[in-house]
Symmetry: C2
Subunit: 428 residues, 2 copies
């Protein structure tokens, strides 16, 4: 097989340019590894005249990604534009209809339309690959789909939004409030144009939904992901959690339970000595658990020109080598519809509240927990500040239903000031 | 493609039994993922009557693995016997000659005969896969060969022998001598029948040589691996290194240098806050560095029934899915002969010596280092014990040639008692 593999790249932002750089720099290496040349034939972006620091003169130019997608002289359509509707969707659909293989970095598009796109591609005998859509340069889609193909997957976890992890670790290191670090990160250009995609957990939720589909053989179900962003995490909680031996992470967790598929993307406490707890700054980490392998942990850059382009090229090289696997690890038509299970898996919780300086206050709180069937693992009361004292409680495993009941009961005790904070502790 | 993929398993030790368990337990899952059934047809081992806790009655039995390898009714020959000569080699060669694909966990066989076997397999249009041979359940061969196929690989590092890492971390945790922990590990069955394979770094060296070949496009060259085991690591060095912020690991490092391919498997100091430094017990970790991705870190179980069988099944599933890649990532005939470069990459070093209680002793040692062109980053002298005092020195980057010169000069100073210890500090 010495026919060149011909690429069309839609989108020439950071990632698109990174792909061009790799193909230009490593032409010989790629050809040796793939057994055939890998060539860029045509590109598409908004501005033809913008200087991107790479020579694009030998490639055909298309203003419209849909036209690019339909070109007779490309084999693979690389979509690195972004956006889950509009041009990205239309161009991807057009490319599938025109019989192209798809390599995409578009987590939003795939998390929302992945099932329909995968069915269309498989009906046409084409593949959709999306290593770059999840955890940047880490080959996590490949590890899960292929590397653990002999396992029943029991849990998938991950810190998959570098900006959020940057914010949380920076808050702790500098002792700054969420608001202060958010502004800082925004000014440094670390956040999406709509920051809620990052700090609201939406971007990471897209990624979790994609991994869940592969892991559990279910149709990708982003709507089934319980989302909670990091906006409510306070520097106090970070400090107190550290005191108890924990770090707070925006952690995605997906598990198949007796009641259905549980997918959560929310702030969680993890032990500070665990690989997840030790993860600093913008780095990503994914933990994959299977019945045979037990646990593997993958760590690496979650974004950036080189890492994301590296992931795109992994998919391109698979296609060049003739290695084809179903989008979600099994034929899309065999994927079951996910039955979302919310709060199915019990866990210990970290509780923080302000207790009023009244006789028997602590007893009342402990009683409310006991009434809800929740037992206490550890408790700390700190000195009074004015009229109230901070109290920390780490519970034993409990359901969230029981916990929410207890939180309501706290109000009735009349000794808790304001709203208590409750954060799940994930066993890692 | 609904024809079953038919497996023949040679070797029914822990790993062989693990494979049987997965195929028996997950038949439906494997078939859905692969798009075809995966079946065991025949097995082979030394004793037919031994109770292995799994039902083998539905499989054909062969006393001789060579006969198994030649059976007309198998597609894939799975070699989990071990040994780099004798039956494992003969059976693998016979399987290739009979047109079978090979899945092997045999690091020694491949590190020594991998090039010849790969050429033979590729001439016959067959693949050899060996995910299970390197770092157990971690999909590191796949990550390197496929996941980073768009990268020029700049460095491969790893802790790839769980027994050695267990010994080193146990020494530190319990404050025990190497000899004491070695005996303990041996009694617990953590070491190979010939423990030198583990503690001498040979087993880990085999794994490093396999990764080097993929990373740098060179013929696997185990003889080019500089080997140094952990037998000379003392509890004093572990304690002193910890004092300076380091851990001692049996670390494999492979790099392409201007002078050729450097492959080392030796005790090294790594920062205690790095992922490698934080690795405890029998877990393995591999660090892959490429020009686009920068760095990814993979962590997981390096041995055991489930993890190793998981890796074997990853290779089997690739073959079942029709995903075929060259043994070492590019056609074996295109691999260049490695030119071994020893001690090519400069590094800082940790030095420990006993300094006699004589005037000007420290100055003489510092002078000897200066004469060799080595500058000192940090130094600590501890209180005198009898007639000598322990001195620790962390040097700036130096070549090993310069360092060895300085170590010789130390003797001439007449102030150093016994042999100084020198351990490389690897930047991770």
């Amino acid at each position: 097989m010495t026919t060149p593999l011909r690429l069309g790249i839609a989108g020439l932002g950071t990632v698109g340019v990174g792909i061009v750089r790799i193909v230009q720099k490593h032409g010989a290496l790629l050809a040796t590894r793939a057994g055939r040349p890998v060539e860029i034939v045509a590109v598409s972006a908004r501005s033809k005249t913008k200087d991107r620091g790479v020579d694009l003169s030998q490639y055909a130019w298309e203003d419209d990604p849909v036209t690019l997608a339909k070109r007779d002289d490309i084999d693979v359509f690389i979509e690195v534009m972004g956006g889950h509707e509009g041009p990205a969707k239309h161009a991807t659909e057009a490319a599938i209809a025109a019989g192209k293989d798809i390599v995409s970095a578009n987590k939003a598009l795939l998390a929302i339309h992945g099932q329909a796109l995968a069915v269309a591609a498989e009906d046409a005998g084409r593949v959709i690959r999306f290593e770059a859509a999840v955890a940047g340069g880490i080959p996590v889609v490949k590890s899960l789909t292929e590397g653990l193909a002999g396992n029943e997957i029991t849990r998938v976890m991950g810190v998959m939004n570098g900006s959020c992890n940057y914010i949380l670790t920076r808050m702790e290191d500098a002792g700054l409030s969420y608001e202060a670090v958010f502004d800082e990160a925004n000014q440094l250009g670390f956040l999406e144009a709509d920051p809620e995609l990052d700090v609201g957990g939406i971007d990471a939720g897209h990624k979790l939904a994609l991994l869940s589909s592969i892991a559990f053989g279910t149709q990708v179900d982003f709507d089934g992901v319980e989302l909670e962003g990091i906006g409510s995490v306070t520097i106090e909680d970070i400090h107190q959690a550290a005191d108890m031996g924990y770090k707070i992470k925006l952690l995605g967790v997906a598990q198949m339970t007796g009641r259905g598929l549980e997918q959560r993307m929310s702030p969680c406490l993890v032990p500070d000595t665990s690989p997840l707890g030790q993860l600093q700054g913008g780095t990503n980490m994914v933990v994959l658990e299977g019945d045979a392998v037990s646990q593997i942990v993958l760590r690496g850059p979650g974004a950036g020109e080189g890492p994301t382009a590296s992931a795109i090229m992994a998919d391109v090289m698979d296609i060049a080598r003739g290695m084809r696997v179903s989008t979600f690890g099994q034929p899309a038509k065999t994927l079951r519809k996910a039955r979302p299970a919310r709060a199915a898996v019990p866990a210990p919780y970290y509780l923080r509240m302000q207790l009023l300086d009244k006789p028997g206050a602590l007893a009342k709180v402990a009683h409310a927990l006991g009434e809800a069937g929740i037992s206490i693992d550890r408790m700390r009361q700190y000195g009074h500040q004015d009229t109230s004292a901070p109290v920390l409680i780490v519970t034993h495993k409990t359901t969230r239903t029981a916990l929410e009941e207890a939180l309501v009961d706290f109000k009735d005790t009349g000794v808790v000031s304001g709203d208590p904070v409750a954060i799940r502790i994930e066993a890692v």
